[in-house]
């Protein structure tokens, strides 16, 4: 269920109070944009998708029937982003900027920042479901049911995706600390 504050804000938003929307945007814009970015691998597309999610919330604050508001926002942003990604043009652009999985250099001794950049780049090469699940579960701290709501899947599938992502990360970066 949405938190009490979220519920109050949603009720105010339903009453036409744009201040409530501002509060919700301030609270969730970062997570929604980060999540959309991990889905699209494109900053501009991520912002577009996140904006669309908030606009849809503004248009219909009662669309959230239950569950977590942030998960709902993530789910809408993901759907929007994936729909947009189906266009060939954006796909082509995305492919250009997307690092190839096999091109990721093997872990070497390097500064911490470089190492983390490599880890981040490697995460981008994971399947969409795995990297999204990893971000929401391991980084943003959502529970499995929330992640499942955001990804439109089951908690078991989320668990599997997170395990798979962890395994790949472990294999790739086992040599480095």
């Amino acid at each position: 269920m949405p938190g009490e504050d979220d519920l109050t804000l949603l009720q105010r938003l339903h009453g036409g109070d744009l201040g409530a929307l501002d509060a919700l945007v301030t609270a969730y814009q970062d997570i929604v944009v980060r999540f959309a970015r991990i889905v699209t691998l494109d900053d501009s597309a991520a912002h577009d998708a996140a904006q669309e999610a908030f606009v849809r919330l503004w248009r219909n604050p009662r669309a959230l029937a239950g569950g977590s508001l942030r998960a709902w926002l993530c789910a809408v942003a993901r759907n929007v982003a994936l729909n947009d990604l189906r266009s060939a043009r954006r796909r082509a652009r995305r492919q250009e900027s997307r690092p190839e999985g096999r091109a990721t250099p093997p872990p070497q001794k390097a500064s911490d920042r470089e190492h983390l950049a490599r880890v981040r780049a490697f995460i981008d090469t994971l399947p969409e479901q795995e990297r999204a699940a990893l971000l929401l579960y391991a980084v943003e701290g959502m529970d499995q049911s929330e992640v499942a709501q955001a990804l439109g899947t089951t908690a078991a599938a989320v668990k599997q995706a997170v395990l798979s992502a962890r395994r790949k990360l472990r294999e790739k970066f086992a040599e480095s600390s």
Binding site: D22, V33, V139, L169
Partner: protein
């Protein structure tokens, strides 16, 4: 070494730690879009209401006509044929059989034809357009009202001035030819105008998200709510303040000045010694400028480089020749970048111009106005007038005076600083007797008359302008115009 699950999660968290969230402009863009959608919805509602009203009126008219025709019509003789006279449906004798096959053409409902007659031809009908909306809009007042400049003597912008339109000359717009509302925003306050732009700038403007972008050119007037985009620096004025930007900004009028929302990239702003309040915002970050500074927005925050004066924020102030990064958490000092691109290649602009066709606003207290010239006769006299408001010295200022002097031994320009209680002066070193010429000098290089060593500081407020002539008894000084221009330092 193997990583535990916690370590892997920690690795992922650290990898994402530097990942930025939403851009600073995210909330602003969202609000703009929502405002645009709300405006579009309001317009749709208005059209719908207007359409419904017109339809209802048309239906009422038709109903009245139907009733009138039926009641006033003489009763036909062959009333048994549904009231239709036989002459109205002549059955051709030699027509094809099929045409006669209709059993009773006259038995079709009759009262319909009168109902159609008044509105049968589209050209004769009441227009379907939203009449109430059209009647509401023919008020061009926002476009012709005087500029809301900060001072009483707004400096003219060459090429951007339009002669005021007398109310009597305003034609009522023809509903058929009136432009769509999006190009004529109502009641938007005029804030300034575009001064110059690089060809590569591809400057675009729109008013609200529902409008499409269109290109602008130098001289384009900027109204409240203008959203501007440019790929290279574009300079514009807000009253007497100069701004320059590349990226994307939105202008908002507010009491005593203007708020500039920086959505992308960088902005240069200069309101030094002006009474125009200038607030620069990037998302929820706010900065108030009194001076000259550049502002750059990025995912890390709003960077401020202050060249003159100061910038105030909720987290503290940034003084001149220093820089800082303003974030949601606070203000972090940065190395000042004097060479910022926007500090360079600034367009020169007019600060003040006195044509001397009539007395200046502050009043001419020495000399007289004659035939569009300010004239001073005599061996020891001057043309002198007061500034109103006081003129504050700005960086890069140049004073130009077009004058003619006859039988003069010396010429001296002076401006009085009330705080020092002393004049600053510039002695004219050479001139051609009896010929029109233009004197040009930097007021910042003038020296005080007391010690002859002190120069005025930026921000020094001058009370008056005096042009002295010393010479023969019949010496003559004529001044055509005086202007103060700011050029790049």
């Amino acid at each position: 070494m193997r990583h535990s699950t916690d370590q892997i999660d920690d690795l992922a968290r650290r990898a994402f730690a530097r990942e930025p969230g939403a851009s600073l402009a995210f909330g602003t863009r969202l609000r703009l879009r929502i405002q645009g959608e709300q405006a579009a919805a309001r317009r749709r509602r208005t059209r719908l209401i207007a359409g419904s009203t017109i339809t209802a009126l048309a239906a009422s008219v038709v109903l009245v006509l139907v009733l009138t025709v039926n009641w006033s019509r003489p009763v036909p003789k062959a009333s048994t044929q549904a009231g239709l006279p036989a002459r109205e449906v002549p059955a051709p004798k030699d027509g094809p059989k099929g045409e006669h096959a209709q059993p009773r053409p006259d038995t079709q409902p009759e009262p319909r034809p009168p109902a159609h007659s008044p509105t049968q031809t589209p050209g004769e009908r009441t227009p379907d357009g939203p009449l109430p909306e059209i009647r509401e809009r023919p008020q061009p007042a926002p476009d012709v009202k005087p500029e809301p400049g900060p001072g009483p003597r707004q400096t003219p912008q060459p090429g951007t001035e339009e002669p005021p339109v007398k109310p009597a000359e305003v034609e009522k717009p023809d509903p058929a030819t009136e432009p769509p509302p999006k190009t004529a925003p109502r009641e938007r306050k005029e804030l300034g105008a575009v001064l110059s732009l690089d060809r590569a700038a591809r400057g675009k403007v729109r008013y609200g998200d529902t409008e499409s972008w269109r290109e602008f050119t130098p001289g384009e007037k900027l109204l409240d709510g203008a959203q501007l985009q440019a790929a290279a620096p574009v300079a514009f004025n807000l009253g007497r303040a100069l701004l320059r930007f590349e990226g994307e900004i939105v202008l908002h009028a507010q009491d005593g000045g203007c708020r500039v929302e920086l959505l992308e990239d960088s902005l240069y702003a200069d309101n030094l010694a002006l009474d125009l309040q200038l607030e620069i915002t990037a998302g929820e970050l706010r900065a108030r400028l009194a001076g000259v500074a550049t502002f750059s927005v990025s995912s890390s925050g709003l960077r401020l480089d202050v060249l003159h004066g100061r910038v105030d924020t909720a987290r503290g102030a940034v003084s001149e020749n220093s820089a800082a990064l303003l974030t949601r958490r606070g203000l972090t000092r940065r190395a000042f970048m004097r060479d910022a691109r926007l500090f360079k290649e600034l367009p020169s602009r007019l600060v003040l111009r006195e044509e001397l066709e009539t007395e200046p606003a502050g009043g001419l207290y020495s000399g007289l106005i004659k035939a569009g010239l300010a004239v001073s006769r005599g061996g020891n006299d001057a043309v002198a007038f007061k500034f109103r408001p006081l003129h504050a010295l700005l960086p890069g200022e140049v004073i130009r005076v077009r004058f003619r002097a006859s039988k003069a031994k010396s010429l001296l320009v002076q401006m009085f600083d009330e705080k020092r209680n002393d004049n600053f002066g510039h002695e004219v070193s050479s001139w051609k007797d009896g010929q029109w010429q233009t004197l040009e000098f930097r007021p910042a290089a003038m020296l005080d008359r007391g010690s002859g060593k002190v120069k005025p500081d930026v921000g020094t407020e001058f009370v008056n302008f005096q042009f002295h002539i010393e010479g023969a008894q019949d010496a003559l000084l004529e001044i055509d115009w005086i202007e103060i221009v700011r050029v790049e330092e």
